[in-house]
């Protein structure tokens, strides 16, 4: 099909959509109907409303040459610049430079869960603003720069707002971000501290998202780069770096099984895209892998559809402590279903009590304090093993996408001092705390 110009369905006419340098990014392609568009600040197909995603001219050369090039790159996501929609000199620009977070071999947790293969936690709490959102925002910043935007914005369940605020501060953009009014204090403070504007919306995340989608089509939103709306095709590509890092940290091997949290579903679909690219480029051996999605029971539109055998996701009104996953109308839900079924994985959910238990389990076995989304993935992993859906003899990677310090409210009611005593040895002994 002919390539349409971005101007035909641009969602902001304030940006310069002329020739842009986004490295290997060649065009935008509709995931539904395949129609292609020039690179621009657009996100939905003009023909069918389907999501647009970046199509690439992937690098040539042997796999060994590409691995060497990656190994010589910086210890952040820019080591994968040849596979991302960013200019070749991206590492020299002001950005938050996230990524290359730890892949923790979780032997203690494995023993607790009865895993005899190898179990790993990809701990993305180590990013600059303590969640995986730094990855996607860093890419969106480069797109915003290329398209001439001066304000960064987003709809957020909290983590993204902080990531946008920080990236805007570093990269020299103004920021104005929107969140549900009732988020955890840790996320609200973290989103506000970087000096941009933070607006609480009276409603849930889906209400915030709707507001932003309307704002973007209004003169009020002209000149704004909404990282997860009109920059979403680029933004989403940041999640591919999780796939690249996991495989590189495993010694350029595919894991057998990956457990990924689902909010909009974008992260899961892009990790799958990243794995497929590595196979296509010959950087990893082509072999089967299974992708599992994890949701909170109180916001489980995708797992409900999966279990029912549906290929359409019916929206839900969220009610869960896992607020970073509380998207009742997930944009990429249908694709998550496709990927889980194609790879032989599944989509499962756990309730709030199980989420808290899983946060504590990960903390006491591996010394990793996860936010509620990490409780969801660890809890779902446990449930999948118990249900026989996840093979405990294989190599499994579980994502922790954020830091527990941001969701203290979830564990505070059941976590605190063992005892409070006078500063005396007798009091210590009397409290039953002495082990000698």
């Amino acid at each position: 099909m002919a390539v349409q110009t971005a101007v035909q369905n641009a969602d902001s006419d304030a940006a310069d959509t002329g020739a842009v340098d986004l490295g290997p990014a060649a065009a935008l392609s509709c995931r539904e109907c395949g129609e292609r568009f020039d690179l621009g600040p657009i996100f939905a197909c003009a023909s069918c409303f389907g999501p647009l995603e970046v199509a690439y001219d992937l690098p040539s050369g042997t796999p060994e040459e590409l691995k060497k090039r990656i190994a010589e790159g910086p210890d952040n996501i820019w080591r994968y610049a040849p596979l991302l929609p960013v200019p070749a000199d991206v590492a020299t620009k002001p950005n938050i430079n996230p990524g290359f977070t730890k892949l923790v071999k979780a032997d203690n947790l494995a023993r607790e869960l009865g895993v005899t293969g190898s179990l790993h936690i990809k701990d993305d709490s180590g990013n600059p603003t303590h969640s995986f959102k730094d990855r996607v925002v860093a890419i969106a910043v480069e797109a915003a720069r290329a398209f001439g935007f001066t304000t960064l914005s987003c709809s957020s369940t909290g983590n993204l707002a902080g990531a946008v605020g920080a990236a805007a501060a570093r990269a020299g953009f103004r920021s104005c971000v929107f969140i549900p009014h009732d988020l955890e204090q840790g996320k609200v403070v973290m989103a506000a501290v970087y000096g941009g504007e933070l607006v609480g919306i009276e409603g849930n995340y889906d209400d915030v998202n709707r507001f932003c989608s309307e704002l973007i089509g209004d003169p009020l939103g002209e000149g704004w780069g909404f990282v997860n709306v009109n920059l979403r095709p680029y933004y989403g590509e940041g999640s591919k770096t999780l796939a690249y890092e996991i495989c590189e940290q495993l010694g350029w091997r595919l894991p057998d099984q990956i457990v990924i949290p689902i909010a909009s579903g974008s992260q899961l679909t892009k990790i799958d895209k990243g794995l497929q690219e590595l196979i296509k480029l010959g950087l990893v051996e082509d072999k089967p892998y299974k992708i599992f999605g994890a949701q909170a029971e109180g916001c489980s539109p995708v797992s409900t559809a999966f279990k029912a055998g549906h290929d359409v996701v019916r929206p839900q009104k969220p009610h869960t402590i896992a607020k970073s996953l509380a998207i009742g109308n997930p944009a990429d839900g249908p694709y998550v279903l496709d990927i889980a079924r194609r790879t032989g994985g599944a989509v499962e959910d756990v309730n709030d009590e199980q989420i808290v238990d899983a946060i504590k389990l990960l903390a006491r076995t591996e010394g990793i304090f996860a936010e509620t989304a990490g409780g969801v993935t660890v809890g779902v992993t446990k449930k999948l093993i118990e249900n026989g859906l996840l093979d405990p003899t294989l190599t499994t990677v579980v994502l922790n996408t954020g830091d527990g310090l941001k969701t203290l409210d979830a564990v505070a009611p059941t976590t605190g001092p063992t005892a409070t005593i006078r500063p005396s040895l007798d009091a210590f002994r009397d409290a039953g705390l002495a082990t000698n």
Binding site: Q8, N9, A10, D11, S12, E32, F43, A44, A46, S47, C48, F49, G50, P51, L52, S155, Y205, D206, D207, N209, R210, C212, S213, E214, I216, G217, D218, F226, N228, V229, R232, A263, S264, G265, S266, Q267, V312, R314, P315, K317, I327, N329, P330, A331, D332, P334
Partner: protein, 91 residues
């Protein structure tokens, strides 16, 4: 009954660039028919070949997502605001 329909940028080629247009109908289905009569071609962008809402289109009547209501049969009272919004946002 007359309602106000907010048109996303992606569909404004059909409305002469207008972000908001008036339409008639007591249900969303009738409103879309009315839009089609005034702005030919727009219905095929919102509805699929079976006449259902495309899966990547969200429609709100006032503040209610019609998927939580009666879909295309959702009532559209006089003066209601109808918003058509691309679904591929957020996350």
């Amino acid at each position: 009954m007359s309602v106000n329909v907010r048109i996303p940028t992606i569909l404004r080629t059909y409305t002469g660039g207008k972000a908001e247009v008036a339409a008639e109908g007591t249900t969303l289905s009738e409103v879309i028919q009315s839009l089609e009569a005034s702005h030919p071609g727009i219905a095929a962008r919102v509805l699929d070949d079976q006449g259902k809402l495309r899966r990547f289109v969200n429609v709100y009547v006032n503040d209610d997502d019609v998927r939580f209501e009666q879909g295309l049969e959702t009532a559209t009272p006089a003066g209601a605001g109808v918003s058509i919004i691309p679904a591929v946002a957020g996350g």
